[in-house]
Symmetry: C2
Subunit: 401 residues, 2 copies
């Protein structure tokens, strides 16, 4: 059978098609600028020999439905397509950002589940509506398939109260759901479990460091989350591409009261104009690396800030876990940027972390051990694969449902 | 000679009188509810044999000047006063909350300095005006004395940029001063330097944990700050009596957009109705201890949250410093609450911290070592004395000015 995975955002949509149970990716793609006149569709077909063929199309994509239809056209193209018949897709897996306290497991999409996801809109006003839209479009395009929602927050549902509660009046939690939910759960789950398998230690304490455009960390024991750097929304914690991560509530009051910002301006600033972009003018780490190599002092500061923040969360999670068996870097930056890993791990031998600088500097695919001999904590790179994890979770739900 | 120390807040004023250079406290007091019909003056006279005599007065105290005049009346009372003549006060030390990036040292108060403190009002709209008022009243009451301002932020002026900068657009720092300043500097300075003396190790790495009504931590090397839990204002970081400490910026947007709070409501909530008060209905730790002993589950959660936050900052500062020679508890809670210290230090042996439970549970005055044999990091209690530190700093400025 085939599993189709959809990650539907407000103006973009990512998808991936797997042959199952072989876990074999057949194609993946990205629809961008939905609703704008110059929509973009990037579609990649994967050959069994590892070869990739990518095509790019610019065309009007008025809505998510059109976007998915265009993707299906390429997937089922008689000459170049990898899917003979849409009816071969028996499972569609959806990334859903916010499952509140209710959705702790991947869940079969039913009318009731959709109604509950709608009730959670206030907790994720940007993400959940787009996720729901993706489910509704997919129901039309794959009427024969089962739809499964995989929640970003679910992995963190095992956090203990002292980690997820804020020091706010109790009623704001009990009546209004103000607590830390955590995000990037699918990645942290995939990476922490791959790590347990790699270590051959099912009970290991693993700290996962997900560094992509969004960045977050999780402290895990035996593959279960016990703490995370992200809170109520996906904007605090680590420094990210365009998000500030941790600042100070007083900054928000100052921007409004003293500098004349509206609250919307502030939200936009903290989400879209801050982070590495705010510090250097670039959000893509490769651009910042280039600036750094040209000797740009802003790029230097940005790297230092980015790494310092990770180092601090690393220390705090080592305290939470009373040590760790492994620290694992993942995501575009975590897997590829040796300098970030080096700055984070520098001068941590007191805490049992020692990096092998040569191994760290080498580029290689797959899971890698970067620790120096004698490091009490193993330092690993484990490539993440959120789409594969979603497909696996879907397949498991489908078996038990 | 005598040194008079003033800590002037918006509706309250603390003072202490020292005989110098003996560092001998003669009297201290607190004026509360300034501007309200039922002002309160609590005045304590200290005998050389350690005996204390406290008197309480309820009377109208329309303004700070009246408050200080009432205190002077008691200090110079022919029968019970400890100060024969106000002219014997040759130095007045003022706690000043916000010195911006400019005031890195205790500073003689001149018309220019007052003008600069006024220019810093936007950075500390509640505190700096009250501090300046205290200086102006003191100039009238002690026209012969030198006035010295000791800034709460000054101790943290040694933080490196990667610790004090936020991941915000550069201009918000360069033009508008948005950065972490740090607070409780006088306490962290006093305690870290007492610790160096106690250890006999002038270069030691010391983590100071100040737990009073306000709470903050500092990472120090050789008595210089390199990181702190407080940022742009004195509300983030640790859980405090009525302040939430770290939450998530998204909480603020949610309260306003979804729950109808005004931004002023939010500020009030985070500063005055959160922290231990929000969780338990009480801000005084002794009340919460009582609830806990009665088996109250809210008090249990509040303690767990309070300690978990400290533990996380402790881990992060151990990462920043690559270990520590000592962790030092101070302030009303840090000096007296054995359970907080126990919860914070539990399960930290991987990071080199082991508490001697018996020693921790014992009550005793002065500097105390609570570490178990074999603890790589010493765990100490060092009582803070912010007024004495201000007096010392004043005396030093006066000698060099
Ligand atoms: N070779 C590389 N060196 C440094 N950074 C890289 C490299 N390759 C990718 N990245 C960075 O990874 C980030 C995107 O990560 P990714 O995990 O793909 O993001 P997403 O959060 O969208 O899943 C970008 O900032 C990109 O610059
Ligand atoms: N014996 C004690 N046990 C627990 N907490 C105590 C004890 N004594 C004082 N405290 C707490 O110390 C806090 C005040 O600390 P203090 O350092 O005096 O505050 P400030 O920040 O105003 O200087 C209060 O919460 C009080 O309950």
């Amino acid at each position: 059978m085939h599993i189709f995975v959809i990650n539907s955002g407000s103006s973009s949509l990512k998808y991936q098609l797997f042959r199952w149970p072989q876990e074999q990716p057949l194609a993946r793609g990205l629809v961008e600028r939905i609703g704008l006149p110059d929509g973009q569709l990037t579609h990649t077909t994967l050959q069994p020999d590892g070869q990739e063929h990518t095509e790019r199309h610019t065309l009007p994509i008025p809505d998510h439905r059109t976007g998915l239809e265009q993707a299906m056209r390429l997937l089922t193209d008689p000459a170049t397509g990898v899917l003979q018949n849409p009816a071969n897709v028996q499972l569609v897996g959806h990334r859903a950002v916010h499952g509140g306290e209710e959705f702790r497991q991947p869940t079969l999409v039913t009318p009731e589940v959709k109604a509950r996801i709608r009730e959670l809109f206030p907790l994720a006003p940007l993400h959940n509506p787009a996720n729901l839209l993706g489910m509704e479009v997919a129901e039309q395009l794959f009427p024969q398939a089962r739809q499964v929602a995989v929640f970003d927050t679910a992995f963190h549902s095992t956090l203990p109260p002292h980690a997820y509660r804020f020091a706010l009046p109790e009623e704001l939690y009990t009546r209004h759901g103000l607590r830390a939910y955590g995000f990037h759960g699918t990645s942290h789950q995939f990476v922490s479990r791959e790590t347990l398998r790699y270590l051959g230690q099912p009970d290991a304490r693993v700290i996962t460091v997900h560094l992509g455009n969004g960045c977050s960390m999780a402290a895990t024991v035996a593959g279960r989350a016990v703490d995370t750097s992200m809170g109520f929304g996906p904007m605090n914690g680590l420094v990210m591409g365009t998000r500030a991560g941790d600042t100070d509530q007083a900054v928000i009051f100052h921007l409004v009261e003293q500098l004349g910002y509206s609250l919307d301006d502030v939200k936009n600033l903290l989400n879209k104009e801050s982070g590495m972009l705010g510090l250097t003018g670039h959000s893509d780490m490769r651009d910042i690396t280039r600036l750094l190599n040209e000797g740009d002092p802003r790029a230097r500061l940005a790297y230092d800030l980015y790494a310092h923040r990770i180092k601090k969360y690393l220390g705090s999670f080592l305290a939470v876990l009373n040590g760790a068996d492994a620290v694992v870097f993942t995501g575009g930056v975590g897997e590829n940027d040796a300098l970030v890993r080096q700055l984070v791990c520098a001068n941590l031998d007191f805490l049992g972390i020692q990096l092998d600088e040569t191994e760290n500097a080498r580029r290689a695919p797959g899971i890698r051990d970067l620790s120096a001999a004698g490091s009490r904590v193993q330092v690993l790179v484990v490539p993440t694969n959120e789409e594969l994890e979603i497909a696996r979770l879907c397949a498991a739900v489908s078996l038990t449902a």
